[in-house]
Symmetry: C3
């Protein structure tokens, strides 16, 4: 990014302590900072790292008492200030195709908003709509009558199939698939007859969907992902699932058909939820758990099958002692005289 | 779809009870039905939902005793009748590219059958064959000498690599990869030397493979997916696996190299099977299980490692009581006089 | 491949026992070998299979004592000799596009090395570099200023995003995504604000990455995959993870942000590692394990949460007996007189 610390202070509306002329080339985490880097310290527990820090400059949260000889800027929240700088830098680094690449195949009746970027080999089928300032990177597929909102970014090889709907500022990472058929069959004469999946997927505003994740279309009606929900890579959302707002689903999470997930739910990596479950708002599901019964709002669950996390920890602790426990039972049996 | 209930009755060869002139715009599930929708009731346990139903009309299985004031059609199996209607509607909604898109790259000696749809930016390498009426959506890749049967649908960004074979009426959802290299290495001088994977994948008729699922080619010979088997999203089938007919594998299932899975096996979500296992025909593997020994035909297994499901349920129930069990053992020890 | 056994002996620098004029059409495993096939026997435990073998010829390790009437070649290590033949055959079967396909979109300042193969619909954004003899199959996406080394193979629909770096002889299978954004958010006013991911991915030499696997770019700095590491399908490597050399990660493995994995680590299928863990060099993680604390070098762990594998096996054995154990405790309680 190549700025002086003084220029960075201006961006943040804050003051430099030390030499403001120092050049910053990159932003870096505390552990990896090298000369030329600007780093940040927001957590006083990490103050010990200040000694020996090789960065050229740093941002400090006001709450940090520790001193540093390095040029620095004090801000209310160094984490948030760093994020603000990173956003600016990310924007500099992002170069969507300016306009519509001549190779793109745009169907009849497609409505492209103002400032839409259409990369090479993009396909928009008939009747698709793409809102202002949205970016379709190379190899993106937008199905017939699909609707993409404003300010979205669809990375290479992502696909939004027929009639599916994305809100504004949605990010689809590479290889994500919105609107493949839900997985449903009816047993007829000993075979699995496909149940047509004629519903759609509806994704709210400010949703991010990770690389190679999949959100299936509904049998009828809609599969829904609420606004503000963030989904990591290789996640599977089955047909007719309803997901609330501001959820966080880590990588390789999967939820089976027709389950309902409330607002603000967090599911860690490799969690699974079987079909027709209800997950209460604000609940947390610990890594690798398998949810096989409803989860009450605000609870934390873990285990296979998932149940109360604190209870599960106690059971795990006991399970760790099982071999010794068996010996104690054998001892008891030996000490107890045979039944008369 | 926009039909009168009378027109729908004609399609189903059945009679309307009530006003046959009512307009149906959409098909819908019982829970989401609104005015304009046709819904269905096949399960008498759900008869209570008839009261307050907002649908415009419905299909009822003959076995349903409950009455409704709504216009309806009685059929032998409302589930199957609904499926028939949905199939017609799905066909109306499906618009493959009519013919061969001018951007498609078709190699030497490629044989495209009658009525094949080839979308924009499709690649068929030299010697590939595609059977009559098959659909290759935009961005599909068909490798050298690969063979696709009749009536297949390959969605955007799916790939069938060199020499792999698909039967008739196979569906590949977006991003699925057939015939990537199996994962095999030989330790040579402390490094992992790649074992070339020169076999193929052979997929039977009427197989469906979900979005971003992967089926690897064999080291030698074939990885096989039997006819009628249905595979959900993000599933991994390793090299040299042999899968029988009419299996069902839910999302994020994975099976390691050289395992054999019999006919009619069901594996639920996030199940794993290690290499060289034999899974007997008709068995069921419960969600999240890890199969680490052979599974006898017709059995139901769960757990990590997987074993008999009913036994596992009893063990789980006992494990839930472990903390109290430990207390009971402490009590016993306290009550029992020290050994003399 | 169609060679006489004598010609194969010449390739291997070894001698034929029996009729060297026999024609070999294919290479095959011991279990699937048919007339026309060359197979191999490297493990004396499998010597019993020699009887009834239908292959036309075979390779035998010197250590094998068993005799066979089939024409054969004795070599030091039949496994390695077979691999050598398979490599030759694989090369014959591989037909990358000769040169640069006219449809490819190559940006400004892109440096393509000598002998690079660029398939149909490949996109290389401005400033990308691709080393000598590398292969970009159809539909590959190479981002701005990305650097691909020499002798790499990128299969259809794989993507290397902006500024990411691949070493030499790296293989990316179809649908793999290098450099999607890491999954990071800062809670601001009850919403998840995206933390920009401005770092890169750096992949060493001789790395193989499976179909639809994902390696996310770092928040700052680098996500690193060390040379010689082999990654199977549908694997997730999160942002800022540092992976050593010569690791093996089986399918559906996932590791969360900022974890560090030493050299020579093996993780089996569906293993998960939470964030900020340290996995010691040479350790092995058994299928389906969830690593939730650091793993010492050279150890073998299993279970959820993962701990010492042998200890875990003992605990599992005890857990299998829990229902009977409960009965034994009830018996003890019944036999012991009530507390006075």
């Amino acid at each position: 990014m190549r700025k002086t610390l003084q220029e960075i202070a201006l961006i943040l509306g804050a003051k430099v302590t030390g030499d403001g002329r120092v050049q910053v080339e990159r932003l870096a985490g505390l552990d990896e900072a090298e000369p030329g880097d600007l780093t940040f310290l927001a957590d006083s527990k990490l103050s010990g790292r200040l000694a020996g820090l090789k960065a050229s400059a740093l941002l400090l949260s006001e709450s940090i008492k520790a001193q540093t000889p390095l040029p620095h800027i004090r801000v209310k929240d160094a984490n948030l200030a760093m994020l603000t700088l990173a956003e600016r830098y990310a924007q500099e680094l992002f170069h969507p195709y300016p306009g519509r690449h001549p190779t793109a195949v745009i169907g009849r009746g497609v409505a492209l908003g103002k400032g839409v970027s259409v990369g090479p080999f993009v396909v928009c089928e008939d009747g698709a709509q793409v809102g202002d300032e949205s970016v379709l990177q190379a190899h993106v597929y937008v199905g017939r009558d699909a609707r993409i909102g404003r300010g979205c970014v669809l990375y290479s090889h992502s696909a939004v199939h027929d009639r599916c709907v994305l809100g504004n500022r949605v990010i689809l990472h590479s290889g994500s698939v919105i609107g493949a058929d839900g997985f449903g069959y009816l047993p007829v004469d000993g075979r699995h007859r496909k149940i047509p999946q004629i519903g759609i997927v509806e994704i709210g505003d400010d949703v991010e969907i990770g690389a190679n994740s999949t959100v299936d279309r509904a049998r009828f009606g809609k599969t829904v992902v609420g606004s503000g929900t963030k989904i990591d890579n290789l996640v599977h959302i089955a047909h007719n699932v309803k997901i609330g707002k501001n959820c966080i689903f880590a990588a390789q999470f999967g939820v089976a058909g027709s389950s309902t997930i409330g607002d603000g739910v967090t599911a860690a990596g490799q969690v699974g939820i079987i079909s027709h479950m209800t997950i209460g708002a604000g609940s947390t599901i610990v890594s690798k758990a398998a949810v096989m019964q409803d989860v009450p709002p605000g609870s934390t669950v873990s285990g296979i099958p998932a149940h109360d996390h604190h209870r599960n920890l106690r059971e795990q602790a006991a399970a760790r002692k099982l071999p010794e426990l068996m010996q104690r039972i054998r001892d008891l049996e030996a000490r107890l005289p045979k039944q008369p």
